[in-house]
């Protein structure tokens, strides 16, 4: 885990404050990963435009998963993209969080009945904050980023860990919509 602190350390007063300082630093400089998929990606870009400007909160796009803290899944995840999305998540450096933006990433949204759409990105990666909307307003995304900031910095919220997803989850193995001819 990180050099100076991890969440499982025993809670004592002295280290607690250092732990809080580190978590405050992590929450005050969240670098999202440039990974736009669909319509929500355009609203994600609009969150950094002059009108709403998430750069005021120190959020600065990084292209490589190694240097990114937050992965904003903005758009529909289909079966072809699911494997790459999971690999991107695994490549990110450890204290990482995921924001599921828009109806398609939450639980498939208007396309959830499609044959090749994964219903919800929380089947593939553990998600911290969900944003409804199709596409959600840039202010809604900024509110979600600030909710994530509070989750990282706030001690009791920090331990509401989303359930871990096994890395080798095979999206194609879902019953029914697996793209294989029915065995008659």
């Amino acid at each position: 885990m990180g050099l100076l602190g991890s969440d499982e350390r025993p809670r004592d007063v002295i280290l607690g404050t250092l732990d809080d300082l580190i978590n405050m630093a992590r929450s005050r400089s969240m670098w999202p990963l440039t990974f736009g998929i669909a319509c929500c990606a355009i609203e994600m870009m609009a969150t950094w435009d002059p009108k709403i400007d998430a750069d005021r909160f120190g959020m600065f796009f990084r292209n490589t998963p190694r240097q990114a803290d937050v992965m904003i899944v903005s758009g529909t995840v289909n079966k072809k993209l699911a494997k790459r999305l999971r690999r991107l998540y695994d490549q990110m450096a450890e204290p990482k969080w995921v924001i599921s933006m828009g109806a398609c990433a939450n639980q498939g949204g208007p396309f959830r009945q499609g044959y090749s759409v994964v219903e919800g990105v929380d089947k593939i990666v553990p998600v911290d904050v969900y944003i409804p909307g199709c596409p959600p307003r840039p202010e809604a995304l900024l509110q979600a980023l600030l909710l994530l900031r509070d989750k990282i910095a706030d001690r009791e919220l920090r331990y509401k860990k989303p359930r871990e997803i096994p890395a080798d989850y095979d999206v194609m193995a879902e019953p029914g919509k697996d793209g294989r001819l029915p065995v008659l």
């Binding site: 998929i37 355009i42 435009d49 002059p50 289909n78 499609g114 044959y115 090749s116």
Partner: protein, 375 residues
């Protein structure tokens, strides 16, 4: 055996297979191009799409006609209501619904507003791919003004679901015309800045002149349409070829450029923005302030059995839709012909032989949007 990757040719040892994968800052979405690189020069390029395949056509076969309009918005998500128009026009032809003149003008105003918004997003991301950080922010601020105007009338910013059979769902906001007029003045001031930053910049000249040349025959044979085709010298524009809505009563030119390279595509889109401003100014005078905005559409929409292909000139090119109906209230088959789908087919021709940085400039000049390509 999955052929998702290029297999190294046994003879060539100095070729490096690079995977410009679904997550890449310059692919405008989820395109994956597998490149064979010799140093910086590209020897082989195989584009892979389908990472945003959301099964539009299969889901639309299970939805009634008014519901399908909401889905068409999500295809070319950068130019909102432009995707709804071909489907609405096709069904209106089949149903025989007549659209009041004022509704046609309102539709065309929204159509041209979204063309400006789409070209602004294109210019922002194209300059970002070339390395200039600032134009991206200026263009997105202009686009915010457009989205503000649209939200005041249609209720949603990007995907408003505003057109319906026979006209538009709701009349325009009382001070809509004043907002659009102010926006056009603001836009004309901004275009001067964009001229300095984009078209006159020597670095852009060095990066785009003579790069990715597409001659006329190959462009037409490849089925390319829109600014990419007009940059190769063919003056084909669906607004003039098969006029629809209020385009017959406004006059505008179709900008074309003979030399077909990346700079020509930048220049043609620039002139199209000027033409859009000109069209909008004429429409502001022509449209009566009050009047009908929706014609008589039958309550239960059941078009007679048959098929209809209707095309429209959206900001990427000819966006056509083939609606096949079997008399029930759900379309039997809806086939969307996206311009970006054809425009992307010339990637292998233009990439091979070009340098790697040129490939980024070429891809951004094609302006692909993957909701429309992968459907």
């Amino acid at each position: 055996m999955s052929t998702m990757n290029l297999e190294p040719v046994p003879g060539r040892t100095d070729e490096m297979i690079v995977n410009m994968g679904p997550q890449h800052p310059a692919t405008h979405g989820v395109l994956r191009v597998v490149l064979g690189l010799e140093g910086e020069r590209i020897t082989r390029a195989v584009p892979h799409i389908g990472y945003l395949h959301r099964n539009h056509e299969k889901i639309e076969e299970a939805r009634t006609y008014p519901m399908v309009i909401a889905y068409t918005d999500r295809m070319d998500y950068v130019s909102g209501t432009q995707n709804e128009l071909p489907f609405v026009l096709a069904v209106e032809d089949m149903l025989g619904v007549e659209v009041p003149d004022r509704a046609k003008k309102i539709r065309t105003i929204f159509f041209e507003l979204y063309r400006l918004a789409s070209h602004l997003v294109w210019m922002g991301t194209a300059m970002l791919d070339l390395g200039a950080i600032s134009p991206f922010l200026y263009t997105f601020w202009d686009r915010e003004i457009i989205l503000g105007i649209v939200e005041k009338t249609a209720g949603a910013r990007m995907l408003p679901n505003y057109y319906t059979f026979g006209g538009v769902r709701r009349d325009v906001h009382p001070d809509f015309f004043k907002d659009v007029a102010d926006f056009l003045d603001h836009m004309e001031r901004r275009m001067v800045d964009y001229e300095h930053l984009v078209l006159e910049s020597p670095v852009v000249h060095a990066r785009t002149k003579g790069v990715g040349v597409l001659d006329q025959e190959r462009a037409v044979a490849r089925g390319v349409s829109g600014p990419v085709l007009r940059a190769s010298g063919v003056a084909y524009d669906v607004r003039k070829a098969f006029p629809y809505d209020a385009y017959p009563d406004v006059e505008f030119e179709i900008p074309t450029s003979p030399d077909g390279d990346t700079y020509a595509r930048f220049w043609v889109r620039f002139q199209e923005m000027y033409q859009s401003i000109r069209i909008l100014r004429q429409l502001l005078e022509l449209t009566p302030k009050t009047g009908p905005y929706k014609g008589r559409a039958p309550a239960r929409l059941k078009p007679p059995a048959g098929e209809r292909y209707r095309a429209v000139e959206n900001s990427r090119g000819e966006l056509g839709v083939l609606v096949v109906s079997d008399g029930s209230d759900k379309p039997y088959r809806v086939k969307h012909r996206g311009a970006a789908f054809s425009n992307l087919q010339i990637i292998p021709d233009l990439f091979v032989g070009a340098k790697f940085s040129d490939a980024i400039a070429i891809l951004s000049s094609l302006d692909p949007v993957f909701g429309e390509i992968d459907r």
